[in-house]
Subunit: 338 residues, 2 copies
Amino acid sequence: MPTNKQIHLASRPEGEAQAGNFRLVTAETPPLADGQVLVRHHYLSLDPYMRGRMNESKSYAQPQPVGQVFQGGTVGEVVESRNPKYAVGDKVVGFGGWQEYSVVDGNQPGMLRKVDTAHVPLSHYLGAVGMPGVTAWYGLVKIIAPKAGETLVVSAASGAVGSAFGALAKARGCRVVGIAGGPDKCKYVTDELGFDACIDYRQHPDAKSMSAALKEACPQGIDGYFENVGGYILDAVLSRLNAFARIALCGMIAGYDGQPLPLANPALLLINRVKLEGFIVSEHMEVWPEALKELGTLVAAGKLRPRESIAQGIEAAPEAFLGLLKGRNFGKQLVKLI
Amino acid sequence: MPTNKQIHLASRPEGEAQAGNFRLVTAETPPLADGQVLVRHHYLSLDPYMRGRMNESKSYAQPQPVGQVFQGGTVGEVVESRNPKYAVGDKVVGFGGWQEYSVVDGNQPGMLRKVDTAHVPLSHYLGAVGMPGVTAWYGLVKIIAPKAGETLVVSAASGAVGSAFGALAKARGCRVVGIAGGPDKCKYVTDELGFDACIDYRQHPDAKSMSAALKEACPQGIDGYFENVGGYILDAVLSRLNAFARIALCGMIAGYDGQPLPLANPALLLINRVKLEGFIVSEHMEVWPEALKELGTLVAAGKLRPRESIAQGIEAAPEAFLGLLKGRNFGKQLVKLI
């Protein structure tokens, strides 16, 4: 039985999340029962939604239990199997949590999925061809439902969701404008991801300045907005919406740590007859096959070139996660365990 | 040619609308051209949306031009006709504005509609069986789309829109909770309109108190909300929404006069995966026939008993309108001209 290093949630944050909220624990992997497989994780996924789950309070996800392995998506390789559907060596995507190994019931639907790594690197199944990619797809296709020629905006544009959103929107003939932090990320968003423009929010630290920047980048106004951030950026976007604009509300990371962030002028939602919808992609499993197929094709064709920030070793997970919450990552944040 | 007393918009309000923003003007009705009819107005409709049109700024309706007849819905009788489709004595609904007579091109589609007054009093075509009723219908049927057994809330419940909303929602097997100002209105909402409960917002003048009152009136939480008001009531409703709740955003009268009213915690829209949609009913003319048919049937069957506040004479229109904005009306506010 291999030794299995794990990260547990040690305590809930008061205000900002801290390294002390996590604890490194060493466990043994238990012997397999019939139907189970042992997966060695190659990569852990770090995602902004996890911050919400650290809080006790009602959130869009169930709270992460204290004193247990921190939950999250993983990709890896089957290293032992007592299930005829999985062979040693199979590459799999699952929800194994922040640990080096997980024991999975291979007969429970949706727990484990075999993936092809011939055309798509394994790690991308945690990003562009995984939950973040499907998140972008759902918000774009099912909520924003754009027509060719419309102008769409996405915040956190260089991240896993934002970069997929850009490629999917360009494939539908839209003008796509990103918002990201710093000149390097903005350059990547336009030069590598193919966005039409990108606004550096550090240069526009309030709603008025951001609104002016959006006016310049979106001369025809904004028809659709994919929200990952909240706060003053949402206020600024609202001031530039066209009539009948659609907003896909996916994340509001700006408010995760403390007091709610108000929306300055909700009457704009009425004035512009806006449709806004909050969603969580795991509640829409029916779209995953269609979305993953399109995303895989875009990656294989080189039309979506997702960038990854990779931390090394399970011990690095908490700091990498805290950095993600502050925007220190550049592209999809992963932890590599092999 | 009869003399035609009119109310014009004299100036745009700065802050609260005032009587001085209106001006009484006496004009002559011009001779009819071919195809035109002369309508003598029996009732003018006063509606909250008109306040938004008094402002210069971008709103959900085009601004009302200064120095012209104040626009609005009217019902009346054809008193002269040079159009074979209309005979003297026909009862008609139109958009004749705040004046005693209007000259209408009877060939232009949508300008004038003949109505049956055998089962529905003429004035109701400006309320329950008119634009306000269709507004309630659209928000309920097309946005909230309730299932039987769900709990729905509507603000301004004793008004023209709110009372129609209640009858339509009860017909669909929902629990309906109103919010209104003062014990008389609340009693009318429950006893005459058949709502399951009504909350007096004067007894609950802040979000915390309103939220507690909503919790009591909506023990199963809120599945749908029809918003006429905005401000702290919307904050309170958001705190009681169920997952996958729907909000029809029809009016935010609380913010018409001045500074935008912020929304305290927009993250609740994400946490509860809410669908919110702003709308203006005149952009959905395709639903009017179906909606008017249901509303007319409810009124004829005595299942929707709309109440009216009636001011007498064109000169009374500005004060009655200002009273409406302060909630001084009780039910649909009209001005009677005959």
